[in-house]
């Protein structure tokens, strides 16, 4: 295992995701809910892509399919050219694409250190002591040195999420799948979490697929922001963010940032209105 903390920025050689014409229908025989329809998206290796869209539009469905929690009905998703999800393959989660969950899914019955070392140890990639050494090193990098014996319930939400991201990264995944990880946080914790995530992204260069409904967060973090339509979801437009890296909070006030934001607000607002009207139709 190479600990790549010597190279400050290294772009990943792999981790390219290709979502091709994906359709996902829940309960096709019965209720028949079309969550995704003709959804396509290209994510380059090492790219940070944020997906925004109204709630219930299918963002999480797409992430769950990528993670291997769910089937696709039509279309396919490729990871580095190899089929990851097709209608004929059995979905299989794996440590090459680890999910960080919205509510957090650190095991509350394991200490921070046990949580972080869980992946490499359970896959028998590292023995316990080697995994612990690596875990300590990675925790230290995000300023979490003295909490390894703590249980997740004793940590703040910001710390918990940092630990969870480290627990994912220690497996050296190709892709990091983040499902609104900072949703329930207050503003201060959130912006601190952004900085830590960007630091880790710069250091590891992993492909990141990031779901959010916070437009500023999306622009601030991502290389590319994709807007998903209301259900049935597909990618309506993808905007490249050309803000230089490393990024800092001052960019939130830059001309470029504001221009991107107004562009996104326009696109998302349209979908939100549609979603709202669709909701009203369902209620009537």
């Amino acid at each position: 295992m190479n600990a790549n903390n010597s190279a400050p920025v290294c772009r990943a050689a792999d981790g390219a995701l290709s979502v091709r014409d994906v359709t996902k229908i829940y309960d096709p025989e019965g209720v028949h809910v079309v969550a995704l329809e003709h959804c396509s998206l290209e994510i380059a290796a090492g790219e940070f892509v944020a997906v925004v869209g109204p709630s219930g539009c299918g963002k999480s469905t797409l992430l769950n399919i990528m993670a291997g929690f769910d089937y696709v009905t039509h279309g396919e998703i490729l990871l580095d050219g190899a089929p990851l999800a097709t209608p004929d393959t059995r979905p299989r989660p794996g440590s090459d694409r680890v999910v960080v969950f919205q509510q957090g899914a650190l095991f509350p019955w394991k200490t921070v250190l046990e949580n972080v070392t869980y992946g490499p140890v359970v896959q028998k990639q590292l023995d316990q002591s080697a995994a612990e050494t690596k875990a300590r090193e990675m925790l230290a990098r995000v300023g979490l040195s003295n909490i390894e014996k703590s249980y997740p319930g004793q940590l703040s939400s910001g710390m918990q999420r940092r630990v969870e991201i480290i627990r994912a990264l220690i497996n050296d995944p190709k892709v990091l799948l983040l499902d609104e990880p900072f949703r329930a946080m207050d503003t201060v914790t959130k912006s601190a979490s952004h900085e830590y995530l960007l630091e880790l992204y710069n250091a590891t260069g992993k492909t990141i697929f990031f779901i959010t409904h916070d437009l500023e967060e999306a622009i601030f973090l991502a290389d590319k922001v994709a807007v998903m339509t209301t259900r049935p979801g597909h990618i309506k437009l993808a905007i490249s963010v050309d803000l230089p890296r490393p990024r800092n909070y001052r960019m939130l006030a830059s001309q470029e940032f504001l221009r991107l934001k107004s562009q996104l607000v326009e696109a998302v607002h349209e979908e939100a209105v549609k979603a709202f009207q669709a909701g009203e139709r369902e209620m009537a």
Binding site: A67, Q103, V122, N171
Partner: protein, 308 residues
């Protein structure tokens, strides 16, 4: 002599209550027992607990010994009961000085423990399997739901006829109740585990076997231990019923036997002993649970606990 013994018993009661409070707070590992004892004894809520006891015993004394209300006047007052309990020469043959008293306690404890352990050993794996395997769940749940409501006493005749002797019959009846409680709470525990923990474990490369031991068992543990506490209580509950019908020794037998010879104080001694042993056994289960679930303790002491 008698007064001294009563005073000693009173002191033991207060200390026992304080110890119970302390283990209820579970901070024993952090500050020493002595300091914890001092804080507990002087705390407001402990004094309220004590006041509750005093009021209870006081009402008993007033209704029975002082006012001698109709129906109540045949009952022994608290002083008579404690006097008999602590007497070296008890009028009705049962006190802390008699060998018989401990024989009864031994038999009841042995039966309850055997039934409880058997129920735990079988009930936890059964419940885990039900929660873990959908097929097994479909097979077994309707059966469990049908058999469970049958009261323990209804099993006694069958148990005596089928099993060799009354001893296994009493244990079996006790086991049955504890088993269902443990099984269903374990099942509930597995069902309570957030789906994301399973997903996270799979993402991190865990096999099904890993998930069983790293997610299912620890995730269900809080419910399992709640179940074990209830199961312990239920064990005593059905044990006494069983002993009243089919046993030669045991506290249930003692109470029933005293009824037939109208030995009031012994009935009280038997009941009070059951209360103390039942409470102590539940507390023991709770302490073991705490030891196994350090993470929950850490969470509880980390967060603010409501203080009324």
């Amino acid at each position: 002599m008698q007064t001294a013994l009563i005073l000693i018993a009173l002191a033991a009661l207060i200390l026992g209550l304080a110890a119970w409070r302390i283990q209820g707070q579970a901070r024993l590992y952090e500050v020493g027992f002595g300091r914890q004892l001092a804080t507990t004894l002087s705390s407001k809520s402990f004094q309220l607990t004590l006041a509750g006891f005093v009021i209870f015993v006081g009402l008993w004394w007033v209704t029975v010994s002082l006012l001698k209300l109709p129906w109540f006047n045949r009952l022994p007052g608290p002083l008579e009961v404690v006097g008999e309990w602590l007497s070296p020469t008890p009028t009705f043959g049962i006190s802390i000085y008699t060998k018989d008293y401990y024989t009864h306690i031994f038999y009841s404890t042995y039966r309850a423990t055997a039934a409880f352990l058997l129920a735990t050993l079988l009930g936890i794996p059964f419940g885990l399997l039900m929660g873990w395997n959908k097929k097994f769940y479909d097979y077994s749940l309707p059966l469990v739901e049908l058999i469970r409501p049958i009261p323990p006493l209804a099993w006694v005749p069958l148990a005596i006829l089928v099993l060799p002797g009354s001893e296994p019959a009493v244990i079996f009846v006790t086991f049955l109740v504890a088993f269902f409680v443990t099984t269903l709470n374990t099942l509930l525990g597995v069902e309570s585990i957030d789906d994301n923990y399973f997903r996270a474990a799979k993402c991190l490369g865990a096999s099904n076997k890993d998930i069983l031991f790293d997610v299912v068992v620890p995730g269900a543990l809080p419910f399992i231990f709640t179940g074990l506490q209830i199961s312990m209580g239920a064990s005593w509950f059905s044990l006494v019923a069983g002993e009243m019908i089919a046993a030669q020794y045991g506290l249930g037998f003692l109470i029933w036997d005293s009824y037939s010879v109208i030995a009031y104080p012994v009935i009280f001694i038997g009941m009070a002993t059951l209360g103390i042993i039942g409470w102590a056994s539940s507390a023991l289960v709770r302490v073991v649970g705490r030891r196994l679930m350090a993470w929950r303790e850490a969470e509880l002491s980390g967060g603010a606990r409501a203080e009324v």
